[in-house]
């Protein structure tokens, strides 16, 4: 078998896998996702109490514990910091998905859709996913330095304020879209 046959054969197999995924993944995942998202959104309500969390993540506390000779406690705090950082990342993702979902709903309800806007949304989604998983795996594997985790709290703090403002601005319009849609998880093409 030559090179061309191997390439076309692989493409054929990939397309077969893609259609199998599209055929079987769509309907089953949604309820699970909704449940998961519901849980996550409840957790993310605490994101508004950021000053306290930021204080808890401050480097000075960690350095102080190290200097005072409490390695076990320092270790526990390190774990906690990582968990908090991961939670922030997850909340960031929830916020991102909320906006993405809103963008999709608006597009679905619009008689005309701008290709450039949709492509940009898709590109941003891919970029976000790439960066999110990169940072996520670095945090999980412990490669990310603790200072960076501390910096993350600053980042999320600033972002949350901005997001909350943005969401409240969009809230009215989102409510309008939500009211117009039969349900927000998927649209029935006719049955």
């Amino acid at each position: 078998m030559n090179y061309s046959a191997a390439v076309f054969g692989s493409i054929g197999l990939l397309l077969l896998l893609a259609i199998a995924w599209l055929a079987f993944s769509g309907t089953r995942r949604r309820p699970e996702q909704a449940v998961r998202k519901g849980g996550r959104e409840r957790e993310c309500l605490h994101i508004s109490s950021l000053p306290q969390i930021k204080q808890a993540l401050a480097n000075s506390d960690f350095i102080y514990l190290e200097q005072q000779g409490y390695p076990a406690l320092a270790k526990r705090i390190r774990k906690e910091r990582r968990r908090i950082a991961l939670n922030y990342l997850a909340c960031l993702r929830v916020e991102f998905e909320k906006l993405l979902h809103l963008a999709r709903m608006v597009a679905v309800m619009s008689p005309n859709v701008a290709v450039a806007q949709e492509v940009q949304g898709l590109r941003l989604n891919l970029e976000f996913s790439y960066r999110y998983y990169l940072i996520y795996f670095r945090l999980v594997s412990g490669v990310a330095p603790l200072e960076a985790i501390g910096s993350l709290s600053n980042m999320v703090s600033a972002l949350t304020i901005r997001m909350e403002t943005a969401i409240s601005e969009l809230g009215e319009r989102a409510a309008l879209v939500a009211e117009l849609l039969p349900h927000n998880r998927g649209l029935d093409a006719g049955g």
Binding site: F8, I19, R104, L124, A144, L180
Partner: protein, 266 residues
């Protein structure tokens, strides 16, 4: 009987024609032909192709030049009908979402052109197998365009009626099988001419038969009612909200990027 073809291949032929006739009967009995005229025409053309080729194979033989010409010409017509049938189903699915339909046909056209250029570039200069390569190219373009369109539908969380989903997946599955057969089987078995046609017939008809059975089962139920777009947002609202949302998404991305830079500096 069809000359030069083993009995099991002839049985497959007969079964395929019977199932196609049954499917045609379902389309007429349940009045699906009103909603899916191009799909019905596609099924009818396939039956006509089988009935057209059968006497030619019988008279001239399965390996004759006449049989080959008749086979490829009739195949060309059914392949064209298949495009119209698929577009019809996609249109029915997306009729209530005008904006997304506009996006979908642009995506279909772009994917088709891009894959066409790639296929021509990859198959250039192989005149001996031109027909086989053209058939493979068609199925590759068809499957890639359809999958990209289904991915778009999934991206926008548009739920496709089960019947339409079965029809579209059936088309796509068969095209993927044809890509693999045209690639692997042709290259590995074409030298053994005596066996090639029989194996080819079995491997082409069997998946098509499976697809037909799934289509038949799905079409036994009434088709979902077509809905007009229930609530349409003014175009100006999309023009205002969409860039705004993209800016917000960009802001989150920038923050993530900044985090990454902070990490790199440590």
């Amino acid at each position: 009987m069809v000359t030069n073809l083993p009995p099991f291949v002839q049985i497959l032929w007969a079964t395929s024609i019977t199932v196609q006739l049954a499917l045609c009967g379902i389309l007429i009995y349940f009045r699906h032909f009103r909603k899916l005229p191009f799909f019905t025409a596609y099924v009818c053309l396939n039956i006509a192709q089988s009935l057209f080729l059968y006497p030619i194979y019988l008279h001239y033989g399965a390996y004759s030049h006449t049989a080959m010409l008749a086979g490829w010409w009739s195949e060309g017509i059914t392949l064209l009908a298949r495009i119209f049938a698929t577009l019809e189903i996609l249109h029915v699915v997306l009729i209530a979402y005008r904006g997304i339909w506009g996006l979908a046909w642009r995506l279909l056209a772009t994917t088709s052109v891009v894959v066409f250029v790639c296929v021509v570039a990859a198959s250039w200069g192989d005149a001996d197998r031109a027909l086989m390569r053209a058939d493979r190219g068609y199925h590759l373009i068809f499957a890639a365009a359809l999958i990209s369109c289904l991915a778009l539908i999934r991206h926008y969380l548009i739920r496709v009626g089960k019947v339409y989903k079965v029809l579209l997946v059936g088309f796509c599955f068969y095209s993927c099988v044809k890509i693999l057969l045209n690639t692997v089987l042709y290259d590995s078995l074409y030298q053994q001419r005596s066996q090639y046609t029989a194996i080819w017939q079995v491997l082409v008809i069997s998946p098509y038969l499976i697809v037909l059975l799934f289509w038949g089962a799905a079409l036994l139920r009434p088709l979902p009612k077509m809905r007009e777009q229930q609530a349409v947002l003014p175009t100006s609202l999309y023009g205002r909200i969409s860039p705004e949302i993209n800016l917000q998404l960009q802001a989150i991305n920038k923050k993530l990027m900044n985090f990454w830079k902070i990490e790199a500096q440590q």
